[in-house]
């Protein structure tokens, strides 16, 4: 790819920009972005196989059970997609601000606030028709989550506070707010040993995708990822965001309103995570309680980085991690591996994919493909 960029602009913000992971573009370049992560993934599986062999387990069994648990049966596929659903949305919470060069890792907080806001909306509308309630829940959930991440964006823009730290710390504040409300003002008095809000009601629950045991959050995740991709790579707004992400001073020089970009992108990012929280309430839990803090927001960071912050790549990566999660149970049951072994695999994949970054642009085979 580097060679394709005209020499005069190679060092400018625009030149930097064109080196960002593009989907489409030249075929060779696109192939590079598929082949290298695939190789990294294969290498991780080999390493993990060696790791498991050291514990006296047969790596072939391992691969078979992983395949069976994640993709081997129709049930396994549904298991995988169910686990992937929230991850697509929370990954966008990291991937969108990354276009601006911001590292937001507080998707968990936006998810919790989104869930709380959505639950509040449902409980405030006891008489409304279900469709209206669900739309209201989605809107409040997205606004709640969006404003939560806007806090980090605003702190960064107006006060120079590091957005990584502030978004992380806001997770703990969100959790504290959730615990306070769930154990105090919003508590259902009949939830004795598991403090929870009142239930939003069976009628208001969003069901599964027809014919599948996977909730609608998965579809919304895909739509959100597609919209994000179009926004970032095919609109003027997205182009401006990437220019600002490439070189913030250059962006200011050409007259871009960087503050506005930061706040809008942060809002959209938080809205995605907030929607994930809303879906957890409306499709899974039926109410808000501490169960919602299940780490989807943190897993989303991993997904976003593995997808190299590309909103479209977030979808297959979330499905991959969902599959690893789904197969983790089978590894525990059949091979007697501890739960942590799945974390080891996730860690190995993470390291391998990040390390494979250095391979981009080094192999002539892709350049020939490009010409």
């Amino acid at each position: 790819m580097k060679a394709d960029v005209g020499a005069p602009v190679a060092k400018s913000a625009v030149g930097e920009l064109l080196r960002l992971p593009p989907f489409g573009g030249k075929i060779g370049g696109a192939a590079e972005y598929v082949v290298i992560p695939a190789l990294a993934l294969a290498a991780s599986l080999v390493l993990f196989g060696i790791f498991v062999a050291l514990f006296g387990k047969n790596p072939l069994d391992l691969y078979f059970y992983m395949y069976q648990g994640a993709f081997g049966t129709w049930f396994s596929w549904q298991n995988t997609l169910t686990r992937a659903a929230p991850l697509i949305l929370t990954a966008l919470c990291t991937a969108l601000p990354a276009q601006l060069g911001m590292v937001i890792i507080g998707g968990e907080g936006a998810l919790l606030i989104g869930a709380l806001a959505a639950t509040g909306a449902a409980l405030a509308l006891p008489e409304a028709p279900p469709l209206f309630v669900d739309v209201a829940m989605a809107c409040t959930g997205m606004v709640g989550g969006g404003l939560w991440i806007v806090l980090s964006g605003a702190l960064r823009h107006y006060r120079g506070v590091n957005e990584t730290i502030s978004s992380l710390l806001l997770v703990y504040i969100a959790l504290a707010i959730l615990n306070y409300l769930v154990e105090g003002p919003m508590r259902d008095p009949t939830s004795l040993n598991k403090p929870s809000t009142r239930e939003i009601g069976v009628a208001n629950m969003i069901g599964n995708i027809p014919g599948m045991d996977v909730h609608w959050g998965f579809v919304f995740g895909i739509i959100a990822a597609l919209l994000s991709y179009i926004l970032i790579y095919h609109t003027v707004f997205g182009f401006a965001a990437r220019v600002a992400g490439g070189n913030i001073r250059a962006a200011k020089v050409v007259g871009l309103s960087v503050g506005r970009l930061i706040l809008i992108i942060c809002f959209l990012a938080g809205a995605a995570a907030g929607l994930a929280g809303m879906m957890e309430v409306a499709a899974v839990q039926g109410r808000t309680n501490a169960n919602l803090a299940a780490g989807y927001g943190f897993a989303g960071i991993l997904v976003a980085f593995l997808a190299r912050q590309n909103p479209l790549a977030v979808i297959p990566v979330a499905i991959l991690l969902g599959g690893i999660g789904a197969s983790g149970g089978l590894l525990q049951r059949r091979l007697g591996l501890p739960d942590a072994s799945v974390l080891v695999l996730q860690g190995v994949i993470f390291v391998m994919v990040l390390a494979s970054d250095t391979l981009y642009g080094r192999w002539n085979i892709f350049k020939r493909g490009a010409s």
Partner: protein, 369 residues
Amino acid sequence: MNFDTISRRGILKGTAAFTLGTALPLRRASAKDATVGFVYVGSRDDYGYNQAHAAGAAALKKMAGIKVVEEEKVPETDAVEKTMESMINLDGATLLFPTSFGYYNPHMIKMALKYPKLRFEHCGGLWTDKDPKNAGSYFGYIDEAQHVSGVVAGHMTKSGKLGFVAAKPIPQVLRNINAFTMGAKMANPKATLQVIFTGDWSMPVKEAEATNSLIDQGVDVVTCHVDGPKTVVENAARRGAMVCGYHVNQAVLAPKAYLTGAEWNWEVLYPRFVKMFTAGETIPNFYRGGLKEEIVKVSPYGAMVPAAARKQADEVKAGLMAGSYVIFKGPIVDNKGKTVIASGVSRGQTDPELEKMDYLVDGVIGATS
């Protein structure tokens, strides 16, 4: 079972198997054959809540014809639904024990409705007539064992100050705190108990801080109600304080400091349930019991516990075993001076009022909110 041969063939078939999407055939349970699935919220070796259940599962593995499948660290989200379904679809499990409180509603209920021919048993939930008939809940009156522990703690404390590291101020926890305190006050009427709530079930850092701060205040016997008491037990022992355990026997972690403890006895209950299940009998939907029913037990006393303490604790234990002894017997005053159980009122273990407990008894320093 020729599972491995199927597996190998499967791996060779590769994508063929994938497109077919065939589940491995469900193993039909014969009269004495069953696969039992256990789901834990934490790790199986946490020296606490989950280990107690895993010990129960281990007891099942010794039974002929019983296959046990286990999964740990499963969060209380739809992940647990999928874990149960995976055990059903891929392992042929017909009896499931999702052991964490948050698994009950909506997750286990949803699965029980979806698989009406299978049996689901939940620890800690409150099964009601509205819930599916193939679901059940069981729990133990572990406050009985806490009460006996409290008697021992009351005898052993020199400062008269006891400490309790607790997760959340919910009825089950408050009941343990109150039963422990009342036991201690039987041995030492002047004893007080300082409680610290950490806010969640597994917060090792906060649990360690709470333990240290209790000991800094002069507390010399510490106990707890958190998922993994390891942190509390080890820290207290390191600081020279004595400890009463919870969930499982933690004497191995602190042999010189471990007085006694309140333990679950799932290794007796689970084989009992599985025998009923394989014999085709119905497991009661709502199952509760204490020391007498062997659902809970008291850890063996540590060597440092003197004869007088053992004697009084054994007497209380004998009373509880005989069913003649009631812990929550009025008058009971809470730590704000309000009478919560009037004189002459005796609240036995099955009294539903106790499931709603929202107070700390006199002698406890701390607040529920």
